[in-house]
Symmetry: C2
Subunit: 239 residues, 2 copies
């Protein structure tokens, strides 16, 4: 076990030198009628001051990364109780030209309309269509690409799309959401048949009259039913 002993020596030896700054960066997804969007902010410190960036912050001693991500999101946007998932850890030596920093990327899904952005000044923050996002600092574009790929896979196998919609939504909204996530058109009848066959939505006796004259029925996602099906039947959500 000599090798492990060396590692141990390294631990002692490098105890100070090898400590690094750990950051958390958040890719915040939203959905606004038609398009999948991400929330970006204008960085107001050097280096790269004035450039578009993901929101981020640093890990504190008394919290784990999930908690740091929640805190960062809450601090910078006022939002809490949000779906978040760890994505990947980025560690290139020169990724941040200011200082060696390791960044753990998270992505978040939020219902754009249900939240007020109290703490954020919207002149220095903006929603961008994911397909038209500007160039971002450091490796943030790479993070965004990975987040989109992950969201695509997740949305096909877990009921996380609903996190991006209002509590009550129409079938058309749900379809448009999936079309924007997958970046391809879906067949209306096949989509509705598939969703209905999953049997996790409740159709309300209530219509959204804002889009068409006829109006379209509203649905809600029945989370309890979904979880019960998963537990009892090993149900697999699959779009």
């Amino acid at each position: 076990m000599e090798a492990a002993k060396d590692a141990n020596l390294q631990l002692n030896y490098y105890q100070k030198e090898d400590q690094v700054l750990l950051a958390v960066d958040c890719i915040i997804f939203g959905f606004d009628k038609e398009d999948l969007k991400i929330l970006l902010v204008k960085r107001n410190l050097e280096p790269e001051k004035g450039k578009w960036s993901l929101i981020g912050g640093f890990l504190k001693k008394n919290e784990n990364l999930d908690q740091a991500a929640v805190r960062v999101l809450k601090t910078l946007t006022g939002l809490s109780d949000i779906y978040m998932e760890q994505l990947h850890t980025y560690s290139n030596v020169d990724r941040d030209p200011g200082q060696r920093t390791i960044s753990v990327a998270y992505y978040a899904l939020i219902d754009v309309n249900a939240h007020r952005f109290g703490d954020i000044q919207m002149d220095s923050a903006n929603w961008f269509d994911v397909k038209k996002a500007p160039h971002l600092i450091f490796d943030h574009n790479e993070m965004v690409q990975k987040a989109i790929a992950r969201l695509r896979r997740r949305a096909l196998t877990k009921p996380i799309g609903f996190e991006l919609l209002p509590e009550k939504f129409t079938m058309r909204q749900l379809q448009t959401l999936y079309e924007s996530i997958l970046d391809k058109k879906l067949d209306k009848r096949n989509f509705i048949n598939k969703i209905n066959s999953l049997d996790v939505l409740v159709k309300l006796n209530e219509k959204d009259m804002t889009v068409s004259r006829k109006g379209s029925y509203l649905y809600v996602f029945d989370k309890e039913k979904y979880e019960k099906k998963v537990e009892e039947d090993g149900f697999n959500f699959k779009i």
Copy 2:
């Protein structure tokens, strides 16, 4: 952008306090005739001295995490040129009772028989059947579980299973490998039909005579062909 300014102040304020030790831990998978295995070592330092553990080490200032993972694997086993993938970052405050440490888990796939374990003393390291692994220190069992789940998904959609086999292998070996990864029996004819339909193996004029009297044909994975298919036809490897 007041909030971001606060974050900036925190950066300056916490520049020293908030630095943390970053470790890399490796789940090393191997396949030995019948079973999927992981390589574990006996820890020889406190805390938890003598307990089974993943191999690990600390990130250095002049390398990124991928390089650290490669280095740790090389240092502790003598192996290089190995398939590795970042898995997840573990950060609970008290995960390591000795000192606050964040650990980035990687998993590696190795061909057990093609490598000599020069630097490792096998009395303090051992291959364990993944289904019979002992209790591990810290959150290492959790890491192993996540690695198995990831390997399962990856092996179904990317040709990484071959990393666990000798260069030349029989259909039966390949099938047994997948059975051990997926932890379920597969139908022999269906499996062979599916593999053949993928059209990325080359059947050699050479038989493995060590198992049966009849002998069974050896195959090799044609990586160039696979990559060409992916690039030209958007081919999807799918078991």
